[in-house]
């Protein structure tokens, strides 16, 4: 029985697709057969970030409408055997998605995969609500600024009330906070919300803090999930997140400012 993870936020542009790609690659590299699904019909990005945009033949909407079977639509990642991508349609719109169709696809995938990562679109409309409907876990990606926190809060309310688990009164979706694009320098100066500030407003379990990093743009340009860039701080932070999610006790490395040699010698 697969564990379904939705990567969602409410706010756009906070790093959902970057996170989905990184988490899926991270889980697969640890030997867990994983599929990552793009739910952003019409504005698909996951295939770009995963570097498989030139191999897309069939997509999620083709499968729902019976035009292709799931085997035909799944794209195997060239770098990791255990990782598959199910891209979204670019030409259709989200009206083509429906609850039953998605349910059937997830049911089918459940037999073959250990983890199903659903990359949600921004917003709280159909694409987003369908991406989270069948979820067991939710990674709520938040930037440490007021609009993102407000939107994440809204999304938490929706997760608690409009999911399949909520409707059938089962154990609720497990919510994890992923604080993305964090800059300790700006927090220090008071320009950015701190981890404590965000925790106070959202009161949820902190899965990880991903630092702001120039390497993320370079990676997505190259079609490489950031977690494969072991030299980058963001990549390392995602690796920590995957380890933490799988149960390891990993200390948070990127909340405080990195001190250079001089900084450490002379304090401050």
């Amino acid at each position: 029985m697969a564990r379904t993870i939705v990567v969602t936020s409410g706010k756009g542009g906070v790093g959902k697709t970057t996170t989905s790609a990184a988490i899926a690659m991270g889980l697969a590299r640890k030997g867990h057969r994983t599929v990552v699904i793009d739910f952003d019909v019409g504005l698909r990005n996951l295939d770009l970030v995963m570097g498989c945009e030139r191999r897309v033949v069939y997509d999620l909407v083709n499968v729902i409408q019976g035009e292709a079977n799931i085997r035909q639509a799944l794209i195997r990642d060239k770098r990791c055997d255990e990782l598959y991508v199910l891209p979204a349609s670019q030409t259709r719109d989200k009206e083509a998605l429906n609850k039953e169709g998605i349910g059937a696809i997830l049911e089918q995938l459940s037999g073959d995969f250990e983890y199903i990562v659903c990359d949600s679109p921004a917003g709280i409309e159909k694409g987003a609500t369908l991406a989270m409907y069948y979820a067991d876990d939710a990674f709520v990606v938040t930037n440490p600024e007021v609009s993102s926190v407000r939107d994440s809060d809204r999304m938490l309310g929706i997760l608690a009330s409009k999911s399949r688990r909520a409707e059938s009164n089962e154990e609720p979706i497990k919510e994890y906070l992923l604080l993305n694009r964090y800059s300790p320098k700006r927090v220090k100066v008071g320009e950015m919300l701190s981890v404590e500030d965000v925790q106070e407003i959202l009161s949820m379990h902190l899965l990880g803090v991903i630092p702001e990093s120039g390497s993320v743009l370079n990676s997505s340009n190259a079609g490489v999930p950031i977690i494969l860039n072991e030299g980058s701080d963001a990549g390392q932070a995602y690796a920590d997140v995957v380890a933490r999610y799988l149960g390891e006790d990993v200390p948070h490395r990127f909340i405080n400012d990195k001190k250079g040699l001089l900084g450490r010698l002379f304090g401050g």
Partner: protein, 250 residues
């Protein structure tokens, strides 16, 4: 009282005008199809014909007025009479409905519910309903206080109908909590809190940390901008005094 006298008939106590109240059944109409109304009404009366025989009833036309629908008023009245009921008046109708009622010499009764519904109307289709899971405990019979133990998230709306509301977590910005009685937030209040929603001016709002966007008691409201800085972030109570909202630290 003087003895009745034939010379001054105006002074003799032949009549007495007093007020009294009666509880009457209300027949609410949701559509204007006479055939369907007749069928559903007969089925209901069949279940307890004695209850309905010679019973005065009032017709509530508010759903029809809201949908701007006409109705064959005389037809409905005859249906009721055929089933043994005594229609005596209407309420909630629009001007058209009321004119038909007057023609048939029916009383036009005040719609006491109109104001209440305007204040406490449940949220339209938007996903702003309170979470239907066991953490939001509904009022228990005999104890109308509603207890909410999970954070009230942005966009959620909680309405404690007929009683007090207690929240033992925070209320996020963009959330709305409404109670007909008092509101207690044992956490940070960042959203909107409306107490005394049905007009109870003695209702109060209590919170551990006042950061509300808007507070209101019985319709008297104040937005965050107009609140004194000295009470922000403190445990406070809010109450009405002479139509003014008073916010005092606890």
């Amino acid at each position: 009282m003087s003895a009745p006298q034939k010379e001054n008939p105006a002074e003799s106590p032949f009549i007495e005008l007093k007020s009294s109240s009666f509880t009457l059944p209300i027949l609410k109409l949701f559509g204007n199809d006479l055939a369907v109304i007749g069928e559903q009404l007969s089925r209901t009366v069949e279940q307890a014909p004695d209850f309905f025989r010679n019973t005065p009833i009032v017709m509530d036309l508010s759903p029809l007025a809201a949908a701007n629908q006409q109705v064959d008023f005389a037809g409905v009245v005859n249906l009721c009479r055929d089933l043994g009921m005594v229609p005596i008046g209407v309420r909630g109708g629009n001007s058209g409905h009321n004119r038909s009622a007057e023609v048939l010499a029916m009383a036009i009764l005040a719609d006491r519910n109109a104001k209440r519904e305007a204040v406490a109307r449940p949220e339209p289709a938007a996903p702003a309903k309170p979470a239907p899971n066991s953490d939001h405990v509904p009022p228990v019979a005999g104890n109308p206080t509603r207890l909410v133990t999970q954070p009230v998230r942005s966009g959620q709306r909680i309405h404690a109908d007929g009683g007090d509301l207690i929240v033992t977590a925070h209320v996020s910005a963009g959330a709305e909590i409404i109670a007909d009685g008092h509101i207690h937030v044992y956490g940070t209040l960042r959203g909107r809190a409306l107490a005394g929603a049905k007009g109870n001016t003695t209702s109060r709002i209590f919170c551990n940390d006042m950061q509300a966007e808007l507070i209101a008691i019985a319709g008297q409201y104040q937005v965050s901008e107009n609140m004194d800085d000295s009470i922000r972030g403190l445990p406070v109570q809010v109450y009405l005094e002479n139509h003014s909202l008073m916010i005092h630290p606890l």
